[in-house]
């Protein structure tokens, strides 16, 4: 895997550049949108939900931003990833190259966006009076896991999208649902214990919760929390790899 990745590094780099150009083609602000977008949605959420939840949740701006940064990384990666195969059908039906490269290219792009937004996030944390401690280093764990989770989701979605074109619309609805179920802009504290635990079944909530515990509460989550996150991630990633392996030479029948 690493060997072939090294071999195809040049292609991956060129694909990343191409996808980047395609995405911001013709827009005046170009790549600046990747920072502006999460900021604007943060602003809107702060404005609207600040009324309802702002006074009950400490550090509400940071609280929101934690949810936002994780959720938009996930939703952007999965929505872009969905197109990875179909959008490059003209290539992989004519040239023999590993198909996961297209997805890696999209995910490289969303990872860069995430990294930039993360810098802005830390800036906002500082403004919000958050104290930075060594515990912040623990954030590397959910970031790495989320990246892998995104890759797995992208593999799964892009493969399924080849077979069922409805997936695109279903996924748009599902992401919407997920946004409301991940406690991005509200707190789960008012729910009874069994419902609060049910939230933990949602992997995206886990990532968000991890961020909030470290950044706002300055607590590193329990070992069980880490394991749960790893299990979610590994399952999704393995499923994605499995479907790509199984259907590697079958995709072109469905184009």
């Amino acid at each position: 895997m690493l060997q072939t990745l090294k071999k195809h590094r040049f292609l991956l780099e060129e694909l990343v550049k191409r996808d980047f150009d395609r995405k911001y083609k013709g827009s005046f602000l170009g790549a600046a949108w990747s920072v502006l977008n999460p900021l604007l949605s943060l602003l809107i959420m702060r404005f609207i939900f600040g009324h309802f939840f702002g006074s009950a949740i400490p550090h509400f701006t940071t609280y929101l931003f934690c949810g936002n940064i994780v959720f938009s990384f996930f939703s952007e990666s999965s929505t872009e990833g969905l197109m990875a195969l179909i959008g490059n059908a003209q290539i992989f039906t004519k040239v023999n190259i590993p198909k996961y490269l297209f997805l890696l290219s999209k995910n490289t792009q969303t990872l860069i966006n995430f990294a930039i937004t993360l810098c802005v996030f830390f800036l906002f944390c500082a403004l919000d009076g958050i104290v930075f401690t060594w515990k912040f280093l623990a954030l590397l764990y959910p970031i790495f896991m989320l990246l892998m989770f995104n890759l797995g989701t992208g593999l799964l979605l892009s493969a399924l999208y080849v077979f069922f074109r409805d997936i695109k619309y279903l996924w748009a609805v599902l992401t919407q649902l997920l946004l409301y179920m991940s406690a991005v802009f509200y707190s789960v504290d008012t729910f009874p214990a069994h419902i609060r635990n049910a939230f933990l079944l949602n992997p995206i909530y886990l990532f968000i919760r991890y961020f909030r515990m470290v950044v706002i509460e300055s607590v590193i989550p329990s070992l069980g929390f880490h394991v749960l996150m790893a299990v979610d991630t590994v399952v999704v990633l393995l499923l994605g790899i499995w479907i790509y392996r199984k259907y590697d030479t079958e995709f072109l029948y469905y184009i």
Binding site: L11, E13, N96
Partner: protein, 248 residues
């Protein structure tokens, strides 16, 4: 020791209910039991092997399964039955313009396409000027790919592809491109690659070309292997078939 063998290769396409009917229809039809997939054998039981330096021509009318067979050899499709085995690296030039992005510049497209053909960045840095000159596109360097005429696009595509240095080369109707002068130039360039000793598979509708270049010929008809052997003998039979003189 053969460098490429196709051993009883059959390739099946699926046709029928399974595509573009959407999720709902798929589930409904599966429940009703009315979901069915038909099979279409594009190639059946094809067997041949090539020694180093061999040049195989594949001939046959439209729908003979030529391109599908090439895809299996190139590793884009996997045979439903049989095995394809090869030694060394394969370059398949099935469609010269695949992978180009209309909005990108000529340079970026050249690098992208070069990367797909397995070139390295250093190689492209070194050869880019040469590509530009060979394609006669220096004056148009700043245009995006879509602004080029179709002829210019295929000139660029050919110029990039013609730098391949494979052990096994697969060509699908791409021996030469462009108008008069460029056609000659590109044919000469292609001849250079062919002379370099790569084992080559060539699909062509030009029997003259096949007679001139190939030392072995495989004749396919509706997915079946009709004949395999010496160029002249097979080409003569095929020509007779085309003129309706023999039945198969």
């Amino acid at each position: 020791m053969p460098v490429l063998t196709c051993d009883h290769v059959s390739i099946r396409y699926k046709v029928g209910d399974f595509r573009n009917i959407g999720l709902k229809e798929t589930i409904i039809r599966k429940l009703k039991g009315s979901y069915h997939v038909e099979e279409f054998w594009a190639d059946r039981d094809i067997t041949f092997s090539l020694e180093r330096g061999d040049m195989l021509g594949i001939i046959g009318t439209n729908g003979a399964g030529k391109s599908t067979l090439l895809k299996a050899v190139a590793g884009i499709m996997s045979p439903s039955k049989g095995i394809v085995e090869h030694e060394g690296n394969i370059s398949a030039l099935l469609e010269l313009a695949s992978g180009f992005d209309p909005d990108l510049s000529i340079r970026r497209n050249a690098y992208l396409r070069g990367a797909m053909l397995g070139y390295t960045r250093e190689f492209m840095d070194e050869k880019y000027e040469e590509i530009l000159d060979f394609a006669e596109l220096r004056a148009f360097e700043d245009l995006s790919f879509k602004q080029l005429s179709t002829g210019m696009q295929s000139r660029l595509a050919f110029s990039i592809a013609s730098l391949v240095q494979p052990d096994i080369l697969i060509l699908d109707e791409v021996l030469s491109v462009g108008d008069g002068a460029f056609a000659e130039k590109s044919a000469a360039k292609m001849q250079e690659i062919l002379d370099s000793g790569a084992t080559t598979i060539l699909v062509s509708h030009s029997l003259d070309q096949v007679r001139e270049l190939c030392n072995k010929v495989l004749w396919l008809h509706q997915g079946r292997q009709i004949d395999l052997g010496e160029t002249e003998a097979v080409c003569d039979r095929y020509q007779a078939f085309l003129h309706g003189e023999i039945e198969i």
